[in-house]
Amino acid sequence: MGQRLDSGDLLAPRRGGPSFTRARRRLARPLWRLPWLRGIALLLPPMAWFLLLYVAALAVLFVSAFWSVDVFTTKVVHTWSLDNFREIVTSSAWRRVITRTVVIAFLVTLTDAVIAFPFAYYMARIASGRTRALLFVLVLLPLWSSYLVRVYAWKVILAQDGILNWSLQKAGLPAANIGYTNTAMWLVFSYIWLPFMILPVYAALERIPDSYIEASRDLGARSFKTFRTIIVPLALPGVIAGSIFTFSLTLGDYITPTLVGGASSTFIGNVVYNTGLGAAGNLPFAAAFASVPLVVMAIYLILARRSGAFEAL
C-alpha cells in the first residue's frame, strides 16, 4: 500500500468501497479525528432534554418555595422570604406528617429487603434455569396489573368484613382490625414495591462469581461465614439500589394513603397535593413542603453512590 502507518490510521476510515460508504466515512472523519466531538454528539441530546425540560422545571418549582401568595388576589407574589419553611418546621402537625412518612418509608424498605433477599438468593443461586425463568415472569407480571387496582384489592382484603377477617373467623381466631390504619399502609406499600427490591438484589447476587465461594471454602470458612463476609457485602449494593426505589416511592406517594390509610395517615404527598392544587393554590407552600423529600432523597442518593449502589441499579 505504500503508506506509512501511524496510530491514527488504525482508527481512520478506510479508503475505497461504494460511493455511499465513502461519503459516510468522509462525513465520519471529523468524528474520528476529534473523539470529543463524538462524545458531545452522544451526550448533547439527553443532557439538553434533562436540563432544558426537567431540571429547569424543578428549579422554577423550588425557587417558588421562597415566595408567597397574596391573600386577597390569590396570586403568587415574588417577595423572598423563608416563611414557608419556618411554618413547616414550627408546626407540630407538619412535623408529624414528615416523621410519619419517613418512618413508614424506612420500615417498608427494611421489610422489603428482608423479604426479597432470601427470595433473590434462591432465584439467583439455587433455582434451576427453568425455575428461574418462571420466577422472573411471576415477579414481573404484577407490574403489568395496574397499581391502583392492586391497592384497591387490598382494601377488600383488609376491610372489617373483608377476606382477612373472614379467614381468621373461619379459623376461630379473633379479627385483626388493621383496615385503614398505618399498619395497613405499611403492608400495602411493602407489597407494591417488592418487585423493585427483588430485581436489583437478584442482579447483584447473580453477579457473584462461584470462584469466590469456592475460594472461601478452600480457605476454610464455613457456609455462614462465607455468607457473612463474601455474599452479603457483594449483595449490599443491590439492596441499597432497591432501597432507593422503595424509599423514594413510599416517600412521595399520595394515592395509597388516600385509598387504604385511615384518619392519621396523611403523608407528605397528600399535603403537597392538597395545598398545591386549585382553589387554595398555595404553590409556594407546596413547593416548600415538597423540598423535604427532595432533601431527604438527595442525602440518601449521595450516601448510596458512595456505596457503589449505582453500579447495581
Partner: protein
C-alpha cells in the same frame, strides 16, 4: 454449598413470597366475575356479564389506545437518549461524569408528585397545550434512566477488545456498531425498553398533571375507582391485560437470559 435444610427453607420462603405477590391478582380476577358493583366479601353472585360491555366501552378503548401510544413514544425516546447517554459515559471521560447517573435517576428517585407539579407549571408557563406530547415528555423523563442503567451495565460487561478487533479487521464506525456493538447490547435494550414501557403504561401520578383532555388507561381506572359504579369493568380490563402481557414478558425473559460469564452454569 448450602445445606439441605437451608435449601428447603428457601424454597418454602420463595413459594410464600410468590403467594403474597399474587394474592391480590387472584382477588382482582375473582372480582371481574362479581355481579355487584360494590366490592364486598364474600362474593354472592357470579357472572360474566361485565366482559362484553367493558371491551366495547368507547372511553376504555380510547384510554387504552392513548396509553399504548404514550408508552411507545416514551420508550422510543428513552431508548435513543438512554443508550446515547450510556455510550457517552462508558466511552469518554469528562467533567461531571459521575453526576450524570445521579441526574438521570432523579425523576425516579424524587416523588412523582414533584415531577408532575414541576412539569405542569412549566408547561402552563410556556402556554403549551396539554396533549399526548406532554404525557410523552413526562414519561420519557423517568424512562431514560431505566434504559441507561441496562445499557451501561451491559457495556461494562462487554469487553472492549471486541470493538477494537472489529476495527483492526477493517470495519468503520457504523459497521462496528451494526455488527458488533448493537448485537451485544440488543438484549439490554429489549429488557430496558420493556420495563420502561411497563412503567409508562401503569404511571398515574405524573400523568394526572401532564395529561390533556384525553385519559390514559390508569387515569380512566382511577376515575372508575372514584365513582365506584363500574368497578367490575376495571377488574375485567386488568385481567385481560394480564393475560395479554404474559406472552411478551415470557418472550422477553427468554431473550434476555444472561449466560453468567463468571458463574458455572
Amino acid at each position: 454449598m448450602e445445606t439441605r435444610a437451608t435449601r428447603l427453607g428457601l424454597r418454602v420462603w420463595t413459594f410464600l413470597v410468590i403467594l403474597f405477590l399474587h394474592l391480590p391478582i387472584v382477588i382482582i380476577i375473582l372480582y371481574a366475575f362479581n355481579a355487584q358493583t360494590a366490592q364486598g366479601w364474600p362474593i354472592t353472585n357470579w357472572t360474566t356479564k361485565w366482559f362484553s360491555p367493558t371491551l366495547h366501552d368507547g372511553e376504555m378503548q380510547q384510554a387504552l389506545w392513548l396509553s399504548l401510544k404514550a408508552g411507545l413514544g416514551a420508550t422510543v425516546i428513552a431508548l435513543l437518549l438512554g443508550s446515547a447517554a450510556a455510550f457517552a459515559v462508558h466511552r469518554f471521560r469528562f467533567f461531571g461524569r459521575e453526576a450524570i447517573s445521579f441526574l438521570l435517576v432523579l425523576p425516579l428517585a424524587l416523588p412523582g408528585i414533584i415531577t408532575g407539579m414541576a412539569l405542569n407549571s412549566f408547561f402552563t408557563f410556556w402556554k403549551a397545550n396539554f396533549s399526548l406530547w406532554t404525557i410523552v415528555v413526562g414519561h420519557a423523563t423517568f424512562c431514560i434512566v431505566i434504559v441507561y442503567n441496562n445499557v451501561i451495565a451491559r457495556l461494562r460487561r462487554t469487553p472492549t477488545s471486541l470493538t477494537e478487533a472489529s476495527m483492526d479487521l477493517g470495519a468503520d464506525g457504523w459497521q462496528t456498531f451494526r455488527f458488533v456493538t448493537f448485537p451485544a447490547i440488543s438484549t439490554a435494550l429489549i429488557s430496558g425498553g420493556l420495563l420502561a414501557f411497563a412503567l409508562s403504561f401503569d404511571e398515574v401520578i405524573v400523568t394526572t398533571f401532564t395529561a390533556g383532555v384525553q385519559n390514559t388507561l390508569p387515569i380512566w381506572i382511577f376515575g372508575n375507582i372514584r365513582i365506584g359504579q363500574q368497578l367490575p369493568e376495571v377488574n375485567v380490563i386488568v385481567f385481560v391485560i394480564l393475560l395479554v402481557t404474559i406472552i411478551p414478558v415470557t418472550v422477553a425473559q427468554r431473550l434476555t437470559r444472561e449466560s453468567g460469564i463468571l458463574r458455572n452454569e
